[in-house]
Symmetry: C2
Subunit: 500 residues, 2 copies
């Protein structure tokens, strides 16, 4: 093996991996969007075999030797190559420690589990889903032990979604949030509630779809590369590279805002992914680096930009144009207040910005307990309902609107939720930096995202996974991460909306 | 290698192949249905790599040795295993003779070509598509030479779509058809034209979709396993096995019948595929055996059943229910006559049953000439238009409604078209046999397909690709194939509709 040849093979290897990744992502996406409902078994059959092929490709002797060789000559590699080798070795070490049959069985399990969850949610039948969830949590604990026996299993997975994250850090972060959010929510509750009548009504799906596509264009998404579909639960996925990106939404006829803000949220993910430098395509450096940074973009677009005063002002005439009857009695200020209404609610994805983090904390507390063995899967609904009572003061009427509401656990994303809160807080601190060079309010009032996107592209998107999350934060902020910015931002919003 | 072990490996090999097939079929399907329009390059990247993996799996030393070993012990294998080995060896012999890089390049070519064709059709820009079409025809000629240098290249491809078919046979078949169809069309033209006013109007896509799904249910398709999407050009595809089948349609607001009969047509393909015996899933015996037999099912359901008097009688009240305003002035007899109107037209997929075969003959004549070098791709539109004038007596106003109308050539299906006519003729002969034990008219009048489907399942579907097309015809018919049945059927239909 010589270095020139090894460098070429490094590229070919990632090319191959990206093709399998494309196929597997598309199989999942198809299952969520288009596939007839009785076909999960057939999909699991193909995914099991392709997952095995990926496992063999990744952990095969040739690959391992190649990467070890490249690692031994690290200093001669470019920064990009070094990071590729580092990330590939990390993945391989992970896979090598998990027996192939267990890994393949797990991948098949989550395919079936997603489809079981989906049905269980519709039928409000937690019992049907529980055996799958049990296996998923068990596997996550077992896999963490295989890979890093000395580490706490939940810490292991937190670190997978956000390099460097630990329960200790999350506890501290959530502690800080809780200390100011709980009184803030109480203060808002003490004021007269703002009306959300203007976003409620009967809004045809056709027109909501038009609005969704228009929003995607306004945000600056490349419509030739980014598709929109409908699913039970909105998400974003890249197929093979950032050159084919899909977002999904869900239209509720009775609420025009749900799909709008879910599209802006997923659109934020898509902007980040598709903003990778072109030469990162088909490499492990393509797309976002961590879920924390990812959510910092999605929640930045959704809330900090999307629910801002100047953007609501820009947005409202378009909504009025599409729904003249429904909107004729309202002004953009009504719309602004409606989408910033603070009110404890059942569903995380419909929650307002202020109570949102409490939803995340509940999931975090539950995951932590289950991963530590202090809570069993059958006891989860009860524990869930108790925490909703305690944190948000509301009664959960059924599991459909309770423990079954999110898809994450069904596809094995245990340890993911904290990144939503973390990303939200990153975003508020990014905003302060952005304001130093970009007139954010003026841009939003015109619905012109060019300068905002340009800033994010320069600072964050273009690097893909080349830089660690910590390095990105350091570069962008020039100071340590500090949740105070986020809490200040939320308090200011409440002052404005509720006149605190 | 021992026999027990080799038999197991035969199954594993096909399992693996089906997984790649699933991924590749889904990538194509996604490209036709959901993918954003600028993503063909990204899809081609993945498909190129996966195609290469299939090539290596199929032609690799291990596979070749396995199949040669099994072939040498043929007598000890079951009938199913024998046929698996036969079909796999046939595929491998094909692949082995084509250099891998040419094969992979071709597969990538057709992915891009489909997307170029699709755009060229919309923009009526044959010149944009011609370079791709040229490469496709060149590749088909070259591949045929590689695999069977002594055979006429067009005969080679005819035989690929329908085992045993040759230009000589097709010429004779089309000769017979032409001799009776041309005077029949003339006779109909001499009578007062029947009206198709009842199927023309403004029919919402929503309701057409409802109608389409209802038709699928009436036909007896398993809606848990068969999905419906929309595409420019309707088609059917299996994903990995007959356990996940997708059909597509296209809704024209101005004509309610187009989507209906395209759904029944594709539904016929889907019934055939999904009717394979369960234990054929994930083997090369799964799904239909040839395009001729496939079209015998699709065109049987579309025309012989779908456009029959008793079925139109059953169908019409449902259409009236969905479109009360549009249909209030009409009777089921009006509908029956409208969907059986004989009139030379531009578009094959919209053609009536009688002129349909002339559309197919035109494509056949052109393919034959190009494959023999007597016609060049740039001359194709002119030759196309000349034949439409000659065979159907109509002027082609533009390439969009001329040479660019069908997708087949764009994905390399050269030699496919004759199977439409052949299948139609098989179907008419099947009908005579079916009538011996099934009261077809009574079943159609009730919209109850159970007995009809049962007959087809028993005679045709359950075998998948286990039996050759010739064997199926022999079993079902008990006499040689004879196009006279088809011609008699068409004459009778015309007598009824036009009172000849």
């Amino acid at each position: 093996m010589d270095l020139t040849n090894a460098r070429e093979r490094l590229i070919t290897l990632q090319d191959e991996m990206s093709a399998y990744d494309h196929a597997l992502s598309l199989l999942s996406y198809d299952g969520e969007t288009t596939a007839p409902k009785g076909t999960a078994d057939n999909r699991a059959h193909a995914m099991g075999i392709l997952t095995e092929a990926v496992y063999k490709l990744s952990t095969g002797k040739e690959t391992v030797e190649l990467l070890e060789y490249l690692d031994s000559r690290k200093e001669e590699l470019s920064q990009k190559e070094q990071r590729m080798v580092e990330l590939l070795i990390k993945d391989i070490r992970f896979l090598q420690k998990i027996p192939m049959d267990e890994y393949v069985a797990y991948e098949k399990l989550v395919v079936e589990s997603e489809s079981v969850w989906s049905k269980a949610k519709v039928e409000n039948d937690y019992k049907a889903f529980a055996p799958y969830l049990e296996k998923i949590f068990d596997s996550r604990i077992r896999f963490a032990h295989y890979v890093n026996p000395d580490m706490d299993p939940y810490d292991f997975w937190l670190n997978e979604y956000e390099e460097g994250l630990t329960t200790q850090k999350v506890d501290a972060f959530f502690g800080q949030l809780k200390a100011r959010l709980v009184p803030l929510i109480r203060k808002c509750a003490g004021k007269p509630q703002v009306s959300d009548a203007c976003i409620k009504g009967d809004f045809s799906e056709d027109k909501q779809e038009k609005l969704a596509k228009w929003l995607m264009e306004v945000m600056g998404l490349d419509m030739d590369r980014v598709g929109l579909s409908t699913t039970e639960h909105p998400f974003t996925t890249s197929l093979g590279s950032h050159l084919d990106e899909r977002i999904t939404t869900h239209y509720y006829r009775e609420d025009v805002s749900y799909s709008m803000f879910s599209v802006i949220h997923e659109g934020g993910h898509a902007l980040y992914d598709t903003g990778s430098d072109g030469d990162l395509a088909y490499t492990v450096l393509d797309g976002g680096v961590s879920m924390g940074i990812h959510e910092s973009q999605s929640r930045f677009y959704e809330n900090i930009l999307g629910r801002s005063k100047p953007f609501c002002r820009f947005l409202f005439p378009r909504i009025q144009e599409l729904f003249p009857e429904e909107m004729k009695a309202y002004t953009w200020q009504d719309f602004y207040r409606a989408v910033n209404r603070v009110s404890p609610s059942l569903i995380r994805t419909e929650a307002d910005e202020v109570t949102y983090c409490l939803h995340v904390m509940i999931r975090y507390e539950l995951e932590k307990k289950i991963m530590a063995g202090g809570l069993k899967v059958p006891e989860l609904p009860e524990a869930w309902n108790r925490l909703y009572e305690e944190y948000l003061g509301i009664q959960v009427p059924d599991d459909r609107r309770g423990v079954l509401q999110d898809s994450h656990w069904s596809f094995g994303a245990v340890g993911y939720f904290p990144s939503y809160a973390l990303g939200s807080a990153y975003g508020a601190q990014f905003l302060q930096k952005m304001r130093e060079t970009v007139d954010v309010d003026a841009a939003l009032e015109k619905g012109d995202f060019a300068a905002i996107n340009q800033w994010n592209r320069e600072q964050i998107w273009r690097f893909g996974s080349l830089l660690t999350p910590a390095k990105i934060l350091e570069n962008v902020l020039g100071e340590p991460f500090d949740p105070t910015y986020y809490l200040d931002y939320l308090e200011e919003k409440c002052k404005d909306v509720y006149g605190l």
